[in-house]
């Protein structure tokens, strides 16, 4: 994926297994969010993206969504003039091919993230944590098989971080969704991930289990630094 002469993600090749939590980390500008945008159909790559053995490279963002890939954004994206329930309704209504399931999907998503009782509040007036919950609920309401989370806990307090991490684990364990998560906080990422990948300058540095990755000398050199050797 290139922007003009700049290759943001360059000859990157990796696979995510069904049902796993796959973590992605790397320095700023490594191309993590660009990678998400390529998978989600925002950018057209020169390579190819396969989902459930089908080529989804040239699908639009809304088509990718209906194939079963949902995402959240690093900077919370919301319909700020709409209520929480209408935010989630958009996902339930447009993200599902089966229109009869709209209300069920909406109610379920709201209950799952714990936003019942707040449905009527306008999204623009929410605090950061509830904004992130609303964004996640809307994504869940599209009933995806794969969930892409872009720095889901950025800006949250330690307690909020703990709750959100539990929620992400529940998304994987209870809803059975495959999760790909970008996160800077290595403590959180190593706890969440079954496998991880480190990116630098749009290239894969290494892939493996959290313990493999954090001990890899190349990762320590480019990302963790010496102080984090025993992280």
């Amino acid at each position: 994926m290139c922007f003009g002469l700049l290759a943001a993600v360059d000859s990157l090749d990796f696979e995510v297994e069904e049902g796993e939590v796959f973590g992605i980390a790397g320095p700023n500008g490594a191309g993590k969010t660009t990678l998400f945008n390529v998978i989600a159909g925002v950018y057209r790559p020169t390579g190819a993206v396969f989902f459930e053995n089908k080529n989804i490279t040239n699908l639009r963002a809304d088509e990718v969504c209906r194939r079963g890939i949902a995402r959240t954004f690093q900077i919370p994206q919301l319909f700020h003039t709409l209520s929480i329930s209408d935010n989630v309704r958009v996902g339930a209504h447009f993200g599902n091919t089966d229109r009869r399931r709209v209300n069920d999907a909406m109610e379920h998503a709201l209950a799952f993230v714990g936003l019942q009782g707040k449905e009527g509040i306008t999204a623009g007036s929410l605090n950061l944590y509830d904004k992130k919950l609303t964004m996640l609920a809307a994504a869940i309401a599209t009933t995806p098989k794969l969930m892409l989370l872009d720095e889901p806990i950025g800006g949250l307090s330690p307690t909020e971080t703990r709750d959100f991490v539990l929620l992400v684990e529940k998304v994987n364990a209870e809803l059975g969704m495959t999760v790909v998560v970008i996160e800077h906080l290595m403590k959180v990422l190593t706890r969440l991930s079954h496998r991880m990948m480190i990116l630098e300058n749009g290239k894969k540095v290494c892939v493996g289990t959290p313990s493999d990755v954090t001990c890899d000398q190349r990762v320590i050199d480019c990302y963790l630094g010496r102080g984090n050797k025993h992280a």
């Binding site: 809304d62 969504c65 954004f73 319909f79 700020h80 309704r89 447009f94």
Partner: protein, 330 residues
Amino acid sequence: MVSGSKTKWYSACAVLAALCLLPLAIKDDRHLMHLLILCYMYAVVAAAWDLIMGYARVLSYAQMAFLALGAYTTAMLTLHLNSSPWLGMLAGGAVATVIGLAIGLVSFRLRGIYVGMATLALHIVLPTLIRATRPWGTGGSYGLTDVPSVTVGGYMFSNLYLVPWYYLALGIFVIFISIIYFIIRSTYGLAFVALRDSEAFAKSLGIHHFRFLLTVFAISAFVTGVMGAVYTHYIGVVSPSILGLDMFLLIYIMVMVGGLGRFPGAIIGAFVVVFLNDSLIVLKEFRLVILGSLVVAVMILLRGGLMGIGEHLVRLVGRRVFRGSRQQEH
């Protein structure tokens, strides 16, 4: 929520009943009757434009072109092919829809002001095209006169007795405004608010932006095309002046004064502007200056138009009531 929509429903029925009974009160005032008929017709055109500009947020200047396409289609069909005016109206809507879809397919690949320029191109090219195709029966610069009036079961609508026209205009007004209202309240409306608030998020949740824009653009073009045809049968003539700045600005002012994207703002705007325009006729050329200044004033001072005043008042009163109830609690 439920009681709110019920109140809305009752008040809409009450307004409709009053409009139905209005001819009894007006009696012989043909001028007033004529103005009301124009109100209904312009209101539909303004509301259809508002659907595109206010709700779908597309800067479209093709509205008058759709009106002209509908007008010319029915005039040519009825004059040259002896077609029924009713068929002509439908054909007018259909032609506007087809051209609308074509221009939408091309211009919606663009964004913002570029869509405005692409749609304005259609508006600008039409008068030249009409003049050039005079041999095909468009009437050229002179336009077409003696466009037949509509008939219902042998009864011919006449410009001497306007009551049948009044009810016809009211009927079409009710049907088209209901369609527009239904679109705004449907999931289309939800999709448009979502796309306006965050396009990236809306698309990631499965909204197909292009298809939504195109569908609503086509509906708006159809409604406008039919209205252009009805208008032509009413006044009996059509010429390239339908694409003049006068008409264009008048409808634009209605949308802006009523409040962009604030149903039923465009309708209220149409009624206000038609009567204001009529009362300013004594001022001759200063009329447009005053109307123009009105738009500038509304855009600077009253961003939400007349509907904005209502919202402002509700918020003000709401705050008072809220404060009052809080004081009582203490």
